[in-house]
Amino acid sequence: MAIVQTRGLTKVFREGQAGAVVGVDLESREGEFLVLLGPSGSGKTTLLRMIAGLEEPTSGDVLIGGVVVNDMTPRERRIAMVFQSYALYPHLTVLGNIVFPLKAQRMPREEREKKATWAADLLGIGHLMARRPRELSGGERQRVALARAIVREPSVFLLDEPLSNLDAKLRASAREELEQFQRRVGTTMIYVTHDQIEAMAMGDRVVVMNHGKVRQIGTPADVYDDPADTFVATFLGSPPMNLVQSDYAVIGFRPEHLVPAGASAPASPSSLSLSFRLDHDEYLGSERILYGRLEGGRFDGEKVVSRLPATFHPDTSSGSALPFQVERRKLKFFDRESGARRDPVAVE
């Protein structure tokens, strides 16, 4: 088990261009599931590849177990990697794939096969040993890739969006398998994804990145309830956080906190009253999403979204704006220029 650290890690692909990864400082915790989350182009994959040793940093250091590994090959770093496409060797059987890293270590045949069997059983693919990758389903391929990774007993697992090639239906079960696998094995896992739902569900901590920089590191609760800036606030959560402009700050509140006044939350000084004019709504079975605009007061015309349980039926007959409210303690305030989180401002 080893802790992965990066210090001021930077990667610039072409001189003069903006960096793909800019000054990233990171420290993983023992046995944690750390998620690198961000949109495409945010630098998360490049960061992962630098940790793996597949990409050379322009500046900064990567440390594994306290040792600077910049000059070490991937093999020497004792990391294992699962690629987006799984990168299984197509002409080898499942067994051949799993023993390949052990063969590279020149392990004797008996020991190799014992370890391979152990890894395969751990992932429940013992019955597939003689098959070739093209005969396997997406989920089975993921398990083979994991078996090949774990058979070397690495100190860190690195995964590059392994679920993105799977069917949506398959993704949920594959995700669960991955979580269980990590818990069982207990090795640190660094996982790259652009899917914030995956990040929230799987991660012990989430590293939110954009344009090569780290915006926030924290538990799912931290990044969701306590976002460090407007990017984190709007990237996590679907539909994204509502942001409205005021004179001194940008004010944000999540759609699920924009609720009708009266019904279950009586109007009080602890809530901000808002007038909501409905444009259209989506009925999703378990919930209802309301799209509309705020009317009157300082936020007149701002577009907002509200998210309510399906039991709520909007009263569209009257044609007028509906009274809504947001609990004041749920409001987040952001600086108008930088987007960074700031102290609360008095709002009416």
Partner: protein
Amino acid sequence: MAMGRRARRALSTAARWGTLAAFSAGLSFPFYWMLITAFKRTSDLYDLKNNPFLFHQPPTLEHLRLLFQETLFPRWLWNTALAGAGVVAITLLLALPAGYALARLTGRWGERLGIAIFLTYLVPPTLLFIPLSRVVAALGLQDTIWSLVVVYPSFTIPFSTWLLMGFFKSIPRELEDAAMVDGLTRFQTFRKLIVPVSVSGILTVVIFSFTLVTQEFVYALTFISSASHQTVGVGVPIYLVRGDVYYWGSLMAACLIASLPIGAVYNLFLDRFIAGFTFGSVK
């Protein structure tokens, strides 16, 4: 690894460039040599004491003059151009509709015929040349350039059909369906709509067929017996002699002229050939 990362990378870069240099030099050397020989004076050329890589006397255009004024070389160029034009015409005439038909033919037969046409390409001239020499004689075409114009399409058509088939397959069907809804027959659709759109594919076939004509040796050697009726590909290596003596200066000049233009054109179109080649195999 004992070596540092940077050292390893420097070594592999050096190895790579070294290999590239060796291969480029080795593969293109003969043409470089043709260039030097073509412009070296005969006395310089045949003086064994001289370093052959250097000019010890000023370069000369004498070999070129001789080539164009005292040999059949210009005649051969003309014959080859004529043959090329004829073959290209016949090939286009027959391969265009065939390629189109095959591309639009659905079902197993389309594929089967496609493969069959491709297989004929594998039948070598050195098997067919003996019976064909009789056929050519029977047609009264022996010792004429027209024997080649008749025979060459037998191998330019299959490959051109294959190329065009792949190319046509990439044209969306909706274009034609729209035309046919507007009342055109299949052939009219082909003529008015498909042909203009396929200029690129047609150009590729033209270049390909023409270069095949210039490169062919066996049939030309077999069917044509008199020097003045020959193509460049056979004339240059066989007939640029006087008695037993090769006139290397003029010979190399002829080689240069016969190879570099084709080389340049082929290089320009190589990507298309590859695309056509792989297109044909994409179902």
